[in-house]
């Protein structure tokens, strides 16, 4: 992480605005973080540019950890995260004079993806813990009573995310439990889309990612909290009403209570116009709204 010298930043900004000559002064908002949220954030930025062309919003992904690290280091105005900031992280930020304020901008169902050839229709959280957990007990599909055509060895190819992903942290906490640890040998992908792509090409694979990354070439699994309970397919509605067992809030963190242009932007995100974009990108808005 490069931390820019404030003096240098100011002089560059001055140079740019001088070079721009008589162009109107534009405010730039730096927005960074969660891979799960990056498409929504991008859609927000594009749409907001039409509402308020004065403000330019620079969006980049890289994972919740990236956004939170940037918030701690003070290099970002709004950090996107698919997990809550840890107390330790909030304290670190405060020690550096930054004050992260949490905003929930939508909800996401964490979908479990398997290859099209995989006959598994429903799974329980316990099944996932067996596959992903350290000494979980399931290394072959047969251990779960499943025969996957095209997966001759039967070995489960466990696809996960890199260890700073918010999705990874959420999965660890809510599937493997407070003290649960991941097993060795998971394939740690750098982006949500990479997970879905790999599962699509690999008959033996299983992976997790936001529902918005679902395609026609992979299968999402119906999830049940416990064996015997009815399973629920991941969907926006199921995420919002809480019936889907692994749904999570999506956060944006601002440095201090939002002010000025950042406040206007956050207010717009929470308005019907912003929330309809959340729905359009495949996530659940924070409240029931009618979008066209």
């Amino acid at each position: 992480m490069l931390k820019m010298n404030p003096l240098l930043a100011v002089s560059i900004a001055t140079a740019i605005s001088l070079a721009a000559g008589n162009a109107q002064a534009r405010t730039e908002i730096q927005n960074k973080g969660s891979d799960t949220l990056v498409n929504v954030a991008q859609a927000f930025a594009e749409e907001y540019a039409k509402v308020n062309p004065e403000v330019a919003i620079a969006v980049s992904g890289g994972g919740s950890g990236t956004g939170i690290a940037a918030m701690i280091n003070g290099t970002v105005d709004i950090a996107n995260s698919s997990r809550k900031m840890k107390d330790k992280e909030i304290k670190q930020a405060q020690e550096r004079g930054h004050n992260p304020i949490e905003h929930i901008v939508g909800y996401d169902a964490l979908a479990i993806y398997v290859n099209k050839a995989n006959p598994a229709n429903s799974m329980t959280i316990a099944d996932l813990a067996k596959i992903y957990g350290r000494d979980g007990g399931a290394t072959k599909w047969q251990d779960l009573g499943i025969q996957v055509p095209g997966c001759d060895s039967g070995e489960i190819v466990v696809v996960s995310r890199q260890n700073n992903s918010g999705t990874y942290a959420y999965f660890q906490e809510h599937v493997l439990g407070e003290k649960g640890k991941f097993r060795l040998g998971t394939l740690d992908m750098h982006g949500s889309k990479d997970v879905v792509d790999l599962v699509e090409k690999t008959p033996c694979a299983i992976g997790y990612s936001g529902l918005a990354y679902a395609t026609d070439h992979v299968k999402t699994v119906c999830m049940a909290m416990e064996p015997g309970k009815p399973c629920v397919m991941p969907s926006e509605d199921a995420a919002l009403d809480g019936s889907y067992p692994i749904a999570r809030p999506l956060f944006m963190y601002t440095n201090g209570e939002p002010q000025g242009e950042i406040k206007k932007y956050m207010d717009w995100i929470m308005s019907d116009a912003g929330q309809c974009l959340v729905a359009k990108e495949g996530y659940a808005p924070v409240r029931k709204i009618a979008c066209k």
Binding site: N73, D152, E155, L184
Partner: protein, 313 residues
């Protein structure tokens, strides 16, 4: 850095000079100083980088590092909220297995290519081959990684009927092909350095072409060839992007070439951007950096000494 110049003996205007101090004199001095700075900049940069990496990682080494955990456990889970685990054994095993396989691929390839270019090819074929080998070295590593991800992955699944094609085999082949050009160039230099009188003497004794190469030229060039191999190993240890994309990036001690692994370099690349500056996770990545730096430094130094050895003798 500026204050080190004087200490390094940068030329300064002497008191007792009898030269005319016209414009040319100053230009001469300025150019001299510039060339001097450029010459020493390599040393300054290497030292600077080493100091920076050490500075960032040293905190972890003193405060948190448990040598036994670090080098002897395979569990690399540095972002765990309660009990982060910092074992790099699996990462070392990943890097070593991929590099080892890469050498198995690259050594026969590059040695064969070098023998052909140095001993058999003539005229235009020779020039064309040399240019092509250099061109191969110019392919960016991310392109190699892409080939591993998009072409080799399904190919390995189809050919060997294994569950996943992002594994030691995939990365080893990719890395072998990446290391082959530099190894070919150095091996060719080493073969060319063998005096022609050796070959002529052998041929005069009635040796066949093959016997000349196998019994005379190769033994005479063996230190140079070894140096080339070591440089290839150094390349393998340091390569990042292609390995990140083709190994599967799984913390795992491989039991066969079909297991996914993760390399030391790839771990730094994937995680550094996301670690908060100064935090334990950030520092431990720099500690891995120090470790890598030391290994590649030792490999390159050994290679250099070996290559230098033959140039002199």
């Amino acid at each position: 850095m500026a204050d080190t110049r004087g200490a390094l003996g940068m030329p300064t205007a002497g008191v007792g000079d009898f030269d005319r101090r016209d414009l040319d004199w100053y230009i001469d001095k300025a150019i001299g100083a510039l060339v001097f700075v450029c010459g020493f900049s390599a040393i300054i940069f290497v030292l600077g980088i080493f100091l920076f990496v050490t500075k960032e990682g040293i905190g972890f080494i003193f405060e948190r590092l448990d040598f036994r955990e670090f080098f002897l456990t395979p569990y690399w889970f540095p972002s765990d909220p309660d009990a982060p685990e910092y074992g790099i054994l699996a990462l070392i095993a990943g890097t070593a297995s991929v590099t080892g396989l890469a050498m198995l691929v690259a050594i026969p390839f590059s040695l064969g290519a070098a023998i052909y270019i140095a001993e058999f090819a003539t005229g235009k074929t020779r020039e064309a081959l040399k240019v092509l080998v250099e061109l191969l070295a110019a392919i960016p590593s991310v392109v190699w990684g892409f080939i591993g991800l998009v072409i080799m992955n399904p190919l390995i699944i189809a050919v060997f009927n294994v569950p996943v094609g992002l594994n030691v085999l995939n990365a080893g082949i990719i890395l072998g092909l990446m290391a082959a050009p530099i190894m070919t160039s150095i091996a060719e230099d080493a073969l060319k350095a063998v005096p022609d009188r050796y070959r002529e003497a052998a041929e005069a004794m009635g040796a066949t072409r093959w016997q000349v190469i196998f019994k005379v030229v190769l033994p005479a060039a063996k230190t140079g060839l070894l140096g080339g191999v070591l440089l290839g190993v150094g390349r393998g240890f340091g390569e990042t992007m292609a390995v990140l994309m083709s190994t599967g990036h799984a913390v795992n001690i491989p039991g066969s070439v079909f297991d996914s692994v993760r390399a030391l370099t790839a771990t730094i690349a994937a995680e550094l951007g996301e670690a908060a500056v100064g935090e334990e996770h950030y520092q431990v990545l720099f500690t891995i950096g120090i470790f890598l730096f030391l290994i590649t430094f030792i490999i390159n130094l050994t290679a250099d000494l070996i290559v230098r050895g033959i140039r002199k003798g």
